[in-house]
């Protein structure tokens, strides 16, 4: 039997995270039965986004323009660079409204077995960026072994430059009780203590 367009569409929906066979079928039937206009709109927007969204030339974050809105904003502190793993981290930090500097998005962590090395993470452009007018690089990477390795690589990379490299503190969540915090986190929180 020849594969129908309906089957092809169901299969296509499965590229989305969390969408299995059943869910894909429900989505396809919903669009075909109840919301043709919504379906057209969705298709169009997906096409547009896939074609138009690239990466910012300065920070590597997803961006429609050559330089993203954050990098292009003169109100932001361009001497501070916060290094994160992925675009979702930028969103999280922006929502916290606690940071006014710029970003550098690695789009991953060092992971030799997956073939992700310094080149894939744009280390060279990070180093180039730090050559000019950057006073502080803030590493906001995950607390995994790979995050640790990435942080070490960056600190070595920037060692010879006159840029200060810092790392965000790790510790107890607000409202968290000590007894429920895991041992590793507690150890890091203890070693990173500050005078009051």
């Amino acid at each position: 039997m020849q594969e129908s367009i309906i089957d092809e569409l169901k299969e296509a929906f499965r590229v989305l995270p969390g969408v299995g066979q059943k869910t894909a079928q429900r989505m396809v039937l919903h669009l075909l039965e109840r919301d043709r206009r919504g379906g057209m709109h969705l298709g169009q927007k997906i096409l547009e986004a896939m074609e138009r969204v690239g990466q910012c030339r300065m920070c590597r974050n997803l961006s429609e323009s050559d330089i993203c809105a954050i990098c292009d904003n003169a109100q932001r502190d361009h001497s501070q660079l916060c290094v994160v793993e992925s675009p979702v981290d930028v969103i999280a930090i922006e929502q916290s409204a606690s940071y006014r500097g710029c970003y550098f998005v690695l789009m991953g962590n060092l992971s030799p077995i997956d073939g992700i090395g310094p080149e894939e993470l744009g280390m060279k452009s990070l180093a180039d960026r730090c050559e000019s007018n950057i006073g502080e690089v803030i590493l906001a990477l995950g607390a995994s072994v790979e995050g640790e390795a990435t942080a070490h690589y960056i600190s070595e990379l920037l060692k010879s430059m006159s840029v200060k490299v810092t790392r965000i503190a790790r510790g107890i969540p607000i409202g968290g009780e000590l007894e429920y915090v895991d041992g590793n986190t507690l150890a890091l929180a203890l070693s990173g203590r500050k005078p009051l």
Partner: protein
């Protein structure tokens, strides 16, 4: 192959996202060597699995095919905390084992040596000669053993003041005009290595030899972690 619902002593070599909430785990176990398993739900906040690299684990799994499913993964002692350059070395060793070990091919001694190496890597004073010895013994386990005290074409003993070159899968060959050959190695360095004495020269020589052998073993596909040391 031991039964898979038994507990295995193991280390995680690597994890990768798998489906929505799971992880695909590459394990190195004492009893069954390297194999992969799926840890269901391992990416959730309330995961019951401990999947830290460089932490000794007890693992049990089920499944008939090559890809197992984890039933229990728990820590079996304190994990090693590697940092700085030693962390890169740890990642290099993990990639090395991942790439060269066949699936379900157990190497119990190698497992113990890996455990020992991690213990040493935890120290700031780590001496790279321990890494070289680990690599050499790994190559020997895989059938690429190297004799450092014998000339390979004649079987003669290596002579301290003669020059030799290394040929992969063969050994050390005598070089008549050694002085002007960049690959030439003086016999006395090889003899020192054969006695387990590795100084700076020995370390450099071993690094080249090991690298050549591993490259050959991997069919010329270089290890990615080498880029970390550039």
């Amino acid at each position: 192959m031991s039964r898979f619902n038994d507990f295995h002593s193991a280390y995680v070599l690597h994890t990768r996202k798998y489906r929505d909430t799971s992880l695909l785990v590459e394990l190195f176990s004492k009893e069954d060597g390297r194999y992969s398993l799926v840890a269901r739900g391992a990416r959730g906040n309330k995961s019951k699995f401990n999947l830290q690299l460089f932490s000794p684990l007890m693992v049990s799994s089920f499944g008939k095919g090559e890809l197992k499913t984890a039933s229990v993964i728990e820590s079996n002692g304190l994990g090693y905390h590697l940092s700085g350059k030693n962390l890169f070395i740890g990642l290099y060793v993990n990639e090395l084992l991942f790439r060269v070990l066949g699936k379900f091919d157990p190497f119990e001694n190698l497992f113990d040596r890996y455990d020992e190496l991690l213990g040493m890597l935890q120290l700031d004073s780590f001496d790279t000669s321990a890494l070289r010895l680990f690599e050499i013994s790994l190559l020997a386990d895989l059938g690429y053993g190297i004799s450092f005290d014998i000339e390979s074409s004649t079987g003669d003993a290596i002579v301290p003041d003669k020059f030799y070159c290394y040929v992969v899968e063969d050994g050390f060959r005598h070089l008549v005009s050694g002085n002007d050959n960049s690959k030439a190695i003086e016999g006395r360095h090889l003899l020192a290595i054969s006695q387990g004495m590795i100084d700076l020269d020995g370390d450099r020589i071993l690094r080249n030899i090991v690298r050549k052998s591993i490259d050959q073993l991997l069919g010329g596909k270089a290890l990615n972690s080498r880029k970390l040391f550039a």
